[in-house]
């Protein structure tokens, strides 16, 4: 595919059909069967859906269509059908409750609501709370009818600068913001980096489909390279789907990497005569070559463990506002230096007061109907504040040290990154989760113990062990950064849907 000719999602869908034709684009489970769709069929179905969505326009203005549900062919056809007609998709998080859905439908000015059967019961409430939403499409009952009733027709050209999506960030603090991504943003990010994918590759997509990391790096990259996209029907079924679809590439978040590693270790313990690399190969379906991790910090020890088992494992870095990739690791780099990859092509990165700032054609147009937040996020000359603290080394690799908004500013004016302290506990097997914050002007570490290890420890033993660990960490930092209070909690921390610990949550641990 000549990537320089691709300027919009419509160009990408058309070029993929032309180049990969009747090759399989997508596989998904329907009950116990697996259905397959070719690149040609996908393009044709997107054209049918484009005709449907465009018919719902009451003015010349683009229409906004929200989508919610698990990963499915219907979701993808509806998304592309919206965007390929010059309209904007609003992908919503499938874990949202009805009141949050209604709020985002109103804030995004959505007029069409696509959903899977799980949300059908919410429609009466949405109708009442969201008067602008006039069209409801339930994938299970309406999707096939729409495809049958609308003939495929060549796309009307869409400008690269046309709005493609409004993506609401989950965020670890504050209210979610609607990130406006243009066709040109998404295409730039999908095309900025060449990798070794080919039409022989099979990608098992396990990330939430509304998430930009999944959308750009799973979906758009499959269309670009002609790879086969297999949809995971549920988080419950990843182990089974690995065996069913036998992927060669997977994008995951660190929590999935942790659990899969536990499963491999359990199997290795049960069969000590079989090499762990052979067990890992079987667990992942027998053909897995490359794992990309993103969304949160991946422990270098875990990355090394996967590499030692024979996989390429690379960590990338990005954010929704950047469509999302800012850096991506070379999967052949096995050094595990703790970096989050090399800056992608066409992306400029600089640091100002320790904060990473980015300028690239992938950077969003702004936040929807939030000029104030947009002005705060993007400088007049186009540099995006990532809010992350870090640095770039002489090999263009990015290293992240923390979040600017989480910075603890001490009374002496010194800044402390809580993540820098939290990361010092990485690899401590009896700590499952840790959050560092200030309380009464002192630095406090709140710990959720790993009950696999600590299950038989008394409270006194637990307190003594954690005090000993904190003391050891304190010896590695300046006195201003010393952790002076310790809390132990009995429940895991509340997390966002992308499994990041929410930093703003009530203190629950008892002081020890």
């Amino acid at each position: 595919m000549n990537k320089h000719k691709i300027k919009t999602l419509q160009d990408l869908v058309t070029a993929a059909a032309k180049e990969y034709g009747d090759n399989i684009f997508l596989k998904e489970k329907h009950g116990k069967d697996v259905i397959e769709k070719s690149f040609n069929t996908f393009c044709e179905d997107v054209q049918r859906m484009t005709a449907f969505v465009s018919s719902k326009r009451s003015t010349d203005k683009p229409i906004h269509a929200a989508l919610i549900g698990a990963s499915s062919y219907a979701w993808l056809v509806s998304y592309f059908g919206t965007v390929c007609g010059g309209n904007a998709a609003v992908p919503l998080d499938a874990q949202l409750g009805c009141s949050d859905i209604c709020e985002l439908l109103n804030r995004s000015d959505s007029e069409i609501f696509f959903c899977d059967s799980r949300y059908e019961s919410m429609i009466p409430e949405i109708q009442q709370s969201c008067p602008n939403v006039r069209t409801f499409v339930c994938f299970s009952t309406d999707f096939e009818t729409i495809l049958n009733e609308n003939a495929p027709a060549a796309f009307e050209p869409v400008a690269p600068q046309a709005l493609a999506a409004i993506s609401y960030t989950s965020g670890t603090t504050g209210k979610s913001k609607g990130v406006m991504l243009l066709n040109s943003n998404l295409i730039d990010n999908a095309m900025c980096q060449d990798n070794e994918s080919t039409p022989d590759d099979v990608i098992l997509s396990v990330l939430p489909i509304h998430h930009i990391y999944c959308f750009t790096c799973d979906i758009l990259c499959c269309l670009r390279y002609g790879a086969e996209l297999c949809l995971n029907d549920s988080m419950l079924h990843i182990p089974q789907n690995l065996k069913l679809f036998r992927p060669t590439i997977m994008l995951i978040v660190p929590m999935i990497a942790e659990t899969m590693y536990k499963q491999i270790l359990a199997a290795a313990n049960a069969k000590p005569d079989i090499p762990i690399s052979a067990i890992a190969n079987t667990v992942f379906g027998g053909r897995l070559r490359t794992i990309y991790s993103g969304g949160a910090y991946l422990r270098p020890e875990l990355q090394k463990a996967y590499i030692d088992m024979g996989f390429q494992m690379a960590q990338g870095y990005g954010m929704t506002e950047c469509s999302p990739r800012i850096s991506t690791a070379d999967p052949f780099d096995t050094a595990c230096n703790g970096d989050v990859g090399v800056i992608v092509n066409g992306c400029q990165v600089k640091t100002v007061d320790g904060e990473i700032m980015v300028k690239s054609p992938s950077v969003m147009a702004g936040y929807y109907k939030d000029a104030e937040a947009t002005t705060e996020a993007i400088t007049p000359d186009g540099w995006l504040h990532t809010g992350d603290l870090g640095y770039v080394d002489d090999k263009n690799r990015i290293f992240i040290t923390g979040r600017k908004k989480n910075l603890i500013i001490l009374s002496n004016g010194e800044n402390v990154s809580p993540e820098e302290l939290e990361n010092k506990f990485a690899g401590t097997d009896y700590i499952a989760e840790i959050l560092v914050y200030t309380e009464d002007s002192v630095i406090c570490a709140e710990i959720f113990p790993d009950n696999n290890i600590c299950i038989n420890w008394t409270d006194e033993e637990l307190a003594a062990k954690f005090h000993e660990t904190v003391d050891a960490v304190n010896k590695t930092v300046t006195s201003a950064k010393t952790i002076r209070r310790l809390r132990i909690r009995e429940v895991e921390f509340d997390k966002t849907t992308s499994k990041k610990i929410r930093r703003s949550q009530a203190v629950q641990g008892h002081q020890v």
Binding site: L236, P239, K262, A266, N451
Partner: protein
């Protein structure tokens, strides 16, 4: 069912089957993370040939609650 559950749980936690009781909470007591729990449910679906409702699983906190729920699916 409890014995099979214990065996499956031990694939995710470093505990002996005899330490796992019906009152044990998956996350707080057994130390599972939320994705461990999802994978365990997937194993149980396969083992007992049932299909769990993803809206219901968020309510399951203990081994005993899970067993009661799975039994309703088998009935």
């Amino acid at each position: 069912m409890l014995e099979k559950m214990k065996e499956l749980i031990c694939n995710y936690v470093e505990a002996s089957p005899e330490d796992i009781t019906e009152n044990a909470r998956f996350i707080e007591d057994l130390g599972m993370n939320s994705y461990d729990f999802m994978c365990l449910l997937g194993d149980i679906e396969t083992e007992f040939d049932i299909s769990v409702d993803e809206n219901e699983i968020v309510k399951l906190q203990t081994v005993g609650e899970a067993i009661s729920y799975f039994k309703t699916l088998q009935a």
